[in-house]
């Protein structure tokens, strides 16, 4: 059943980094809070982990006239339309849901970590104990049940919102027009559009861990869109050929086998 494509909008210009979304995500998905160290930043845990599916990234920048700016960005799976991870996943653990987001069947994951290499945003994270990969699935269990993702529900300043794809994209561009300056929309231009889009105050390269031109790695494209289909074609050809041979010449009889052997002898 084809459903409405959903997009989550992250308006970083409204975010006060209160990190309520980080707590709400862990509360809903029952992810433990582990012992961390202060590594010299407010950002903690330091990166996405198997038990941290969304993370507020803090980075301090000085702009042209040396005024300090503190940029907050909620990192997590971008739910690409042309998802490299789904392409490379051998076991079908990663799949596209009817909302266009990228869901994950944990039980099917074999821990091959192919997706970690393929993902242009370096999102999926591996857990040694369970030998599985984890990432944000945009609260697929909640969306199916007519509920907003836990992070969107918890956001007190209205920085996070979710809705139909075109409505959200329009809302993002309206907000950017109102903001002016370097404000821009990030996400709908790459990998056929992501289902998580940002309104950024500054140019994308000012934010750390945010690729300027994310795209499906060439190796994945080469394998998936050319080599694999050709190899399948070839395999198919062999099968068809041998079947055809069976129809025309009938089954191989014992002496035939003998004959072949001698002919090939010299």
């Amino acid at each position: 059943m084809k459903k409405m494509e959903l997009v989550k909008l992250i308006d970083t210009t409204r975010c006060t980094a209160c990190r309520g979304c980080q707590v709400a995500c862990k509360q809903w998905n029952e992810l433990p809070g582990l012992k961390t160290k202060n590594w010299g930043s407010y950002q903690n845990p330091p990166d996405l982990q198997w038990n941290t599916w969304t993370l507020i990234r803090f980075n301090e920048v000085a702009d042209k006239d040396n005024r300090v700016k503190w940029l907050f960005r909620k990192d997590g799976c971008m739910h690409c339309t042309d998802a490299a991870c789904v392409k490379v996943c051998p076991s079908g653990a990663l799949y596209h849901t009817e909302y266009g987001t990228v869901g994950i069947h944990h039980e099917r994951c074999i821990g091959c970590k192919e997706c970690m290499a393929a993902c242009p945003f370096e999102i999926p994270k591996y857990d040694r104990d369970t030998d599985k990969v984890y990432k944000c699935d945009l609260c697929y269990s909640r969306i199916k049940d007519d509920q907003q993702p836990a992070c969107v529900k918890s956001c007190p300043t209205g920085a996070l919102s979710i809705g139909a794809k075109d409505a959200m994209i329009k809302k993002a561009y309206d907000r950017v027009k109102k903001l002016g300056g370097d404000a821009n929309v990030y996400g709908d231009q790459f990998v056929d559009g992501t289902h998580v889009i940002y309104v950024l105050q500054e140019k994308p390269e000012m934010y750390d861990h945010l690729p300027k031109h994310p795209r499906v790695p060439f190796s994945v494209v080469a394998w998936k869109d050319f080599l694999k289909p050709i190899s399948l074609l070839a395999a198919g050809g062999v099968l068809a050929g041998s079947f055809l041979h069976y129809i025309i010449h009938g089954p191989k009889t014992p002496d035939d086998i003998q004959e072949n052997k001698t002919q090939g002898g010299e």
Partner: protein
């Protein structure tokens, strides 16, 4: 449970025999079987919702507490949408207020007592502790009570007991503590409002 027809009719004249489901000839057995099964497995939970106020900062956001009536435990705390200050939203700490309820295993449940020179806590009964505390307060007050100060003025004060706290308890409790301290003659009275 017998809903008598008369019971129906008396309901503000809205419901009559004609409006019920049965004559439409729909087979309700699967639905009733499901309802029965829910009842038997007591999967139908009774709960109560009441309003409360957040106990972190002084903005005074409103919350709605849902409590499972069977276990008496709080099962959910959410912002109160009709509250004019927070209009249903909460900050990160307020949203985590659930973690200060019984759900947090660090909550104090028993009276803890540390004997002089001891290096560990012991659990004690409440009554014993209250009586012991009253004894200590009386002896300490009687020993250190100052009726007249250096200038000979009548001061009636107890200078060797202090009271700290708290701006994290209800108004009624604050008033009781304030009045109790004055009745005991304490003058070293303070709390977080000054800190």
């Amino acid at each position: 449970m017998e809903i008598t027809r008369r019971g129906f009719l008396s309901l503000s004249g809205v419901i009559g025999s004609g409006l019920v489901l049965s004559p439409l000839g729909i087979d309700l057995k699967p639905m009733m079987a499901y309802a029965e099964e829910l009842n038997k497995m007591n999967r139908i939970k009774a709960a109560k919702q009441s309003t409360t106020v957040c106990s972190y900062c002084s903005v005074g956001c409103g919350l709605i507490c849902s409590v499972d009536k069977l276990t008496g435990k709080i099962i959910n705390m959410e912002g109160d949408p009709d509250h004019p200050i927070n209009e249903g939203s909460l900050c990160a700490k307020g949203a985590g207020l659930f973690d200060t309820t019984e759900a947090n295993k660090h909550r104090l449940k028993k009276v803890l007592y540390r004997a002089p020179m001891s290096d560990k806590w012991e659990e004690k009964e409440m009554d014993w502790a209250l009586k012991r505390i009253a004894r200590l307060v009386k002896d300490t007050r009687d020993k250190g009570f100052v009726t007249k100060n250096a200038k000979g003025e009548l001061v009636n004060r107890c200078e060797n007991i202090g009271h700290l706290g708290s701006s994290n308890v209800d108004n009624e409790e604050c008033w009781l503590m304030s009045v109790k301290a004055r009745a005991l003659g304490l003058i070293y009275i303070d709390h977080q409002a000054r800190v």
